[in-house]
Amino acid sequence: MTRVGLIRLAVIAAAIGALELACRLGLINHRTIIPPSEMASTLWTLLASGAINADIQRTLGMIALVIALSVVLGFVAGLVIHALPRVREALDPFFATYYAVPIFIFYPVLIAIFGLSIMPIVLIGVATAIVAMIIATLNGLDRVPRVLTKVARVHRLGRIKTAVTLQLPAAAPYLFTGVKLAVSYAFIAVVAAEFILSPAGLGRDIADAYADFNNRRMYALILFLLIIATLLNSALHALDLRWAARRTGGRP
């Protein structure tokens, strides 16, 4: 590990250690924050007992579903829009403003329409993540060297074959950035939706534990989600860095 990496590890460890110390020494009220070690041990117990397995499955399953839908539909939508320049121009201001607007406040409207089921959560998740994928797809397709599409026409490949065998691999590094963003947004949207209002899931679990004053359970679950999110995002980030060379080394 590099020197910088070691320093970073030390900083994080020091922060956690300081929190632990502050809690144990009574500087921080036990009713406000519990020591990190207690968070970890409670989490361990919960996981070992299998008590939260159903919720884990539900939350992670929803996130996976949202990711799958956003990435696939986003890519296809990006392909279609890319092929229709006039549509793309019309949609440009929409895309530019999309993430400046708090999309998530549409969630209660979705609940009003579809009721308290998985639909509003999936929909708000996809709504949040899909545009990132579309923008990344458009970006990636822009960078496909034009000569490749001409080669496809010379070989008389159909639209779908061209997309799959030529455009997809050429745009792949940029598409991956879209996937990375979609995963991150899916995670955030699903967990937020579960937290605000949902019949089940880890987000709902945390909200319940908070309402029940069950700090130990609440912090254990928070810790779990933080760890999963961090691991997932870090792994994708590391992979994205690998693709970075292909991105910047490409043609201008």
């Binding site: 910088v4 320093i7 970073r8 900083v11 994080i12 009713r31 406000t32 924050i33 006039r86 121009e89 019309a90 949609l91 201001p93 929409f94 530019a96 403003t97 993430y99 400046a100 607007v101 708090p102 998530f104 406040i105 549409f106 209660p108 409207v109 609940i111 009003a112 329409i113 579809f114 991150s184 995670f187 955030i188 967990v191 937020a192 937290f195 605000i196 209002l197 987000g203 945390i206 909200a207 534990a209 908070y210 700090n215 609440m218 912090y219 679950l221 928070i222 989600l225 933080l226 999110a229 961090t230 995002n233 870090s234 980030h237």
Partner: protein, 247 residues
């Protein structure tokens, strides 16, 4: 000519969106999703109600405090990490990791620390905004060509003069991008905070309307918030383009 064509296309897009809305309304029913035209009429007539004004005032108050905090802390962190190479190298991945976290899971902790009043929502909003401001400010400072600093020394500027007259204007375009993104995410953070365990503010108003099946008011508040965010972003973007055009 292309400008008018683009405007026409955008107009067509808006019509399509309204048509989809109308279709959804047919499917979902009156209380779930009111139709576009009645909603717009409601908006025009009822947006000035006392209840709306009170809730809007709460949200605005929380948002302004959160934004000031996010900008001040974000800029400070960004300048520090941009100027000190080691701090930047160590801290950047931490900030990036925090940026992609579902910060909503930390909201109960914020509530436990700050209680159910305004400070909780202000803190939560600021937590969202600090990150893009810090990250982009750091990037902006790092991107300043070192020759500018050498030039400032040959022109015999004091450190204060160098910061004010060279560093700041050189970094401004990218810093402003951070401020613009920070604006949007801080707003989202404040609204999220209001949607959970809050009795005041536009976010909580939406939740209440949903529970009481007041579709028109719910859609109205949603539209007002979208419009506010979109217009504010457009203004900030315009300023940003003007800043970038010279660099």
């Amino acid at each position: 000519m292309t400008a008018t064509r683009r405007a026409a296309d955008t107009f067509i897009l808006v019509l399509v969106m309204l048509a989809v809305w109308q279709a959804l309304h047919q499917i979902a029913g009156e209380t779930a999703l009111p139709a576009p035209i009645p909603t717009l009429s409601y908006l025009v007539h009822n947006v000035a109600t006392r209840r709306f004004a009170e809730n809007a005032a709460t949200t605005v108050e929380e948002f302004v405090y959160a934004l000031v905090l996010a900008y001040a802390i974000g800029l400070a962190i960004g300048v520090w990490m941009g100027a000190h190479r080691l701090a930047g190298a160590v801290g950047e991945p931490i900030l990036v990791a925090l940026y992609s976290l579902p910060k909503i899971v930390l909201y109960p902790v914020v509530l436990l620390i700050f209680g159910l009043g305004i400070s909780g929502k202000v803190t939560f909003g600021a937590m969202h905004g600090i990150l893009p401001v810090a990250l982009l400010t750091m990037g902006a400072i790092r991107a300043i060509p070192p020759v500018y600093l050498r030039a400032a020394r040959t022109l015999r500027l004091s450190p204060g003069e160098t910061i004010a007259n060279v560093l700041l204007p050189a970094a401004l375009p990218e810093v402003f991008t951070g401020l613009r993104i920070g604006f949007s995410v801080t707003l989202l953070g404040v609204l999220l905070g209001e949607m959970f365990a809050s009795k005041q503010g536009l976010g909580s108003m939406i939740m209440t309307d949903m529970q009481l099946l007041q579709g028109e008011e719910m859609m109205t508040v949603t539209i007002v918030l979208f419009a506010f965010a979109a217009i504010a972003n457009a203004v900030l973007l315009w300023i940003e383009h003007r800043l970038h055009r010279r660099v």
